[in-house]
């Protein structure tokens, strides 16, 4: 019987060999394919097996990082600054990502092809894979000031600051914001609860008001109208008819100044004469700009608006909603659109781009958020070089618009003169807007501001919209002042690199 037993032994050996070969095939060769099946829930958790790269500000403040936690998810995302930076960082949940977390996901996760060689070396040396660090252009002083100032208004709104010389975004804030840490939880129930709460909140905390909600620009659009005017044949000193009420051709509508106030620099007591454009700009006369708009025509205004970056979507790398200046031909609608009403809509980023296009002598730099990407071995993988987006106006015209914007703040009768008190000696050029909105303009006026500082050598351009904030000077200008002051103080501080 031993011969048969020996054969049976060999058969047993063969069965075990088959099993061994098969498990080698499954776990050694087929593992990658198995991981890619859509129904594989385990792959899901795998994205948390590696340390995701950090997101830091330009002044090296960490705003998103991964910390080690016990359990099947080895790492958990956390956001040290929470809601302040939420519109920038976005969130990173097992199901979805937003913001920079989404836009730079492959680099942060370490799966980008540019990290492939590094990953291979790590595999050989047995080091765990690690994501790259993304350094933003955001300045922590400006961002904190922007969020705190918006929060202080208690109203929904957005604020953006950019360096006009490069296009680097210095601050990008939205209020009400959300706490991304609540969504970074690895507890499914807690995540679902937080998600539902944010999604169903009437305050829409997940909406990035700085780049994804548009508002009527109101009188801040006069920067564009003026730019178009000076690019044709006018100067700040050109005098224009300045009635208290402007009858619009072809309709019974009348264009009025804010609060029906006359447009009088002393030379127009009857409300039937003319004023220089610079005066009309400084006190924000709607009738003058309505008339000017009709003279320039809708297509010239649209062309100028396009030069400031309107009517196009941007990727910074977050997706920016397009600010709209639709084609307009009727003279009455052209008059309305020239003062930033009718169908004009802008994002707070667009407001900052108005100021930046003027501040940088007519060259609008492409806005960007990512300064550089640093590999785990500290080598620089990506560095963003500033590039031009468009030419807005000639340097001479930019100087003229700049002069008018400076008057808005500097002149005692300027609409934004009240902000001087908050600036501590920093000179600011700007334009306020008080935009009517809602059905038949029954909504609360949105407060809008665009501006840059210092006037002589612009370092920062800001755009602010506070929804329902009333007068631009009351609600938005203080926010802009807080951002400008925080950033200029940072530049002058010894702590600066």
């Amino acid at each position: 019987m031993n011969r048969a037993l020996r054969r049976v032994s060999l058969a047993c050996l063969a069965m075990f060999l088959l099993l061994l070969v098969n498990v080698n095939y499954v776990q050694g060769f087929e593992a990658g394919k198995l991981a890619d099946y859509p129904g594989n829930g385990r792959t899901f958790a795998q994205q948390y097996q590696y340390q995701r790269g950090s997101i830091i500000t330009s002044d090296n403040v960490p705003i998103a990082a991964s910390k080690h936690v016990p359990g099947i998810y080895s790492f958990q995302r956390y956001y040290p600054e929470g809601a302040t930076y939420a519109p920038v960082t976005g969130y990173d949940t097992p199901y979805s990502k937003t913001g920079i977390e989404q836009a730079e996901d492959k680099l942060l996760a370490g799966t980008d092809p540019r990290l492939a060689v590094r990953n291979l070396i790590d595999l050989v040396t047995g080091k765990p894979r690690k994501g790259a660090t993304v350094q933003l252009t955001v300045n922590s002083a400006a961002q904190k000031a922007a969020y705190q100032a918006l929060k202080a208004t208690g109203l929904p709104g957005g604020a953006v600051a950019i360096d006009p010389k490069t296009g680097a975004i210095l601050a990008l804030a939205s209020y009400p914001s959300f706490n991304p840490n609540k969504l970074a939880t690895l507890n499914g129930n807690a995540l679902n609860k937080a998600d539902q709460r944010y999604l169903n909140s009437p305050q829409q905390p997940l909406l990035n008001r700085a780049i994804n909600e548009t508002f009527p620009p109101g009188s801040t659009f006069k920067v564009v109208t003026s730019s178009a005017a000076f690019s044709s044949k006018y100067t700040p000193d050109s005098r224009f008819y300045a009635p208290t009420n402007l009858k619009l051709p072809g309709t019974t509508h009348q264009l009025i100044n804010y609060d029906h106030s006359p447009c009088n620099d002393g030379s127009n007591p009857t409300g039937n004469g003319t004023v220089p454009l610079i005066y009309a700009f400084t006190v924000s006369c709607n009738t003058v700009f309505g008339g000017l708009g009709m003279k320039l025509g809708g297509s010239a205004l649209r062309q100028q608006a396009n030069a400031f970056g309107m009517n196009q979507e941007l990727t910074i790398p977050l997706k920016v909603s397009a600010s709209q200046y639709p084609p307009v031909s009727n003279p009455d609608y052209t008059a309305y659109s020239a003062i930033g009403q009718y169908s004009d809509t802008v994002t707070p980023l667009q407001e900052a781009m108005f100021a930046a296009g003027i501040a940088n002598h007519g060259t609008l730099m492409r806005p960007y958020l990512v300064q550089k990407v640093i590999a785990p071995n500290l080598s620089t993988l990506v560095i963003t070089k500033p590039s031009e987006l468009s030419h807005t106006v000639s340097p001479a015209v930019a100087a003229q618009v700049s002069r008018m914007m400076a008057d808005v703040v500097a002149q005692p009768y300027g609409t934004a003169h009240s902000m001087v008190a908050n600036l501590g000696g920093i000179t600011v050029a700007g334009k306020t807007g008080t935009a009517q909105n809602g059905a038949n303009n029954t909504g609360l006026d949105d407060a809008v501001f665009t501006g840059f500082a210092p006037v002589a050598n612009p370092q920062i351009a800001v755009g602010v919209v506070v929804k329902g904030g009333g007068l631009g000077a009351d609600a938005s200008a203080p926010v802009a002042a807080a951002i400008i002051k925080a950033y200029i103080n940072y530049l002058n501080s010894p702590a600066k690199r």
Partner: protein
């Protein structure tokens, strides 16, 4: 016996005392010291694995390490001491291997029980309770008691031969029992199989013990009849068929067990019984024609079953297309086909792939995602958390048990013991092949227990009893023959037991 020398084994030296050899016969040793050292090693591996589960789950050594760990160690030491007393010449490797498997099974059941409980990561497995491991430890104790009892009662393998027909009847009765009982008692929830006897929350699967009884019956019957069975009857197509009257009882026993098992919807065990019978028949008669007849019978049966029983046909479909959506998420709207989805198989495969080469580490994987992972699919939990490396080690442990059993079969003189040891060893190999091959997609999946590892008492106790029988047979094989001591030809002392 001439072939035994080629084995080059300690067991061989005991029996290969060919009178023609003029060399000194080395004193055979029981090697109980080696067994104790290997047992200590096995216990250490189990205790470290237990501690590793706690550290992997929540960073703490499990509180039960002192109590459960010491209990397990004492249990195995008790088994060792019993062997010293009852079977001092038995194979020293079988107990440490069985202890290692039983211990690792306990560790994995504890790990699965803890998932999602006591604040540990994962989802709690609804088919397990917080005291499952305690129950399994109680079953391990019963298993070791049964192991000792078998060694105590069966002092010689031949003893069993006396009860050939009694055990045959008992075996058949045990196998048939669940089929005769109402479904409320015999059906295993969620599987459709009628294989247990459940009374008051306590359940046993009698077929596990029936398997052992039938193995004894087959061995006894085939040994008694092997000369007749080897006789050639009619020749059909060049194959010598046995005489029908010799085959009667065996064919009846086989057909009965097969019918009962198909009636109980348990294909895996049915295949196992048939394989065991066929191999023992082959070993007894040494006629390859039996293998050909049997294999053809089996293939024809499997083909017919796949056509006639939709349940079986579906198993084939699942095996071929486990990741097809319709299979993974079984369509319950189809009333003609019972819903046996491949969800479980797919999840098990995902787990294996997720574990990869080195595994996630105990407590770091997500084996709880696989339904009923604690019973049929426990091998995928090992594959996931211990990786290909751990799984291959487990397969080698099984392989070693089988080969040690085969070695005992080859070494023992008594044909009955030879056949019994060979049949039982092959059955272990076949059982491992069917279940491990099934969950790793090598062969169509049929649910049977994984010896020593799966949750459940009957299989564990029966496995310990099989090890006891193998050790009794190896003890008989390795026991030194009464050795004449030459003292100048004057006296002759016979040593023996």
């Amino acid at each position: 016996m001439s072939a035994l020398g080629a084995m080059g084994d300690g067991a061989g030296t005991a029996t290969a005392t060919s009178p023609g050899l003029a060399r000194a016969v080395p004193l055979p040793r029981g090697r109980r010291g080696a067994e104790l050292i290997m047992l200590a090693f096995a216990i250490c591996v189990v205790l470290f694995a237990y501690a590793s589960v706690g550290l992997g789950l929540n960073g703490h050594v499990p509180t039960g390490l002192a109590t459960y760990g010491v209990l397990f160690a004492l249990l195995m030491l008790a088994a060792h001491l019993a062997i010293r007393k009852l079977a001092p010449w038995a194979d020293p490797l079988l107990l440490p291997l069985a202890a290692l498997l039983n211990g690792l099974g306990l560790v994995m059941i504890y790990r699965l029980q803890e998932a999602g409980r006591n604040g540990n990561p994962g989802n709690a497995i609804s088919t397990m309770s917080a005291s499952t491991t305690t129950f399994q430890l109680v079953w391990s104790t019963i298993g070791v008691v049964a192991f000792v009892a078998v060694l105590l009662v069966v002092r010689e393998p031949r003893m069993l031969q006396r009860y050939t027909y009694t055990l045959g009847v008992i075996g058949l009765a045990l196998v048939a029992l669940p089929a005769l009982l109402p479904s409320s008692i015999s059906a295993v929830p969620g599987t459709g199989a009628k294989i247990q006897v459940a009374l008051g929350g306590f359940s046993i699967q009698p077929e596990e013990f029936g398997k052992l009884a039938l193995a004894v019956f087959f061995a006894g019957y085939l040994v008694a009849k092997r000369d007749v069975l080897s006789l050639a009857g009619r020749h059909v197509l060049g194959i010598a068929l046995p005489r029908a009257r010799d085959m009667g009882p065996v064919l009846i026993a086989w057909a009965a067990s097969l019918l009962v098992l198909i009636f109980e919807s348990d294909i895996g065990t049915s295949a196992l019984f048939f394989g065991m019978f066929l191999i023992m028949l082959y070993v007894a008669t040494q006629r390859t024609s039996w293998l050909l007849i049997g294999t053809s019978l089996f293939l024809a049966g499997a083909f017919l079953a796949s056509k006639l029983v939709s349940h079986v046909g579906l198993r084939f479909n699942i095996w071929l297309h486990p990741f097809t959506y319709a299979n993974v998420f079984c369509n319950t709207a189809s009333v003609h086909v019972p819903c046996v989805p491949s969800y479980q198989l797919a999840q098990g495969m995902y787990g294996l792939g997720f574990g990869g080469i080195l595994g996630t580490g105990l407590g770091h994987g997500q084996p709880y995602l696989t339904p009923l992972v604690q019973s049929d699919f426990i091998i995928t939990a090992f594959g996931e958390e211990l990786g290909l490396t751990g799984l291959m080690a487990l397969l080698l442990i099984y392989g070693l048990i089988v080969e040690r059993g085969m070695r005992a079969a080859v070494a023992v003189r008594d044909p009955f013991a030879k056949l019994l040891a060979g049949g039982l060893s092959f059955t272990i190999a076949l059982q491992v092949f069917v279940i491990v091959g099934g969950v790793t997609q090598l062969i169509p999946l049929t649910g049977i227990t994984t010896p020593f590892l799966s949750q459940g008492g009957s299989s564990l106790v029966a496995s310990w009893m099989v090890i006891a029988v193998l050790m009794r047979i190896s003890d008989t094989a390795r026991r030194p023959a009464p050795q004449p001591i030459q003292d100048e030809g004057m006296t002759q002392v016979v040593r023996g037991i």
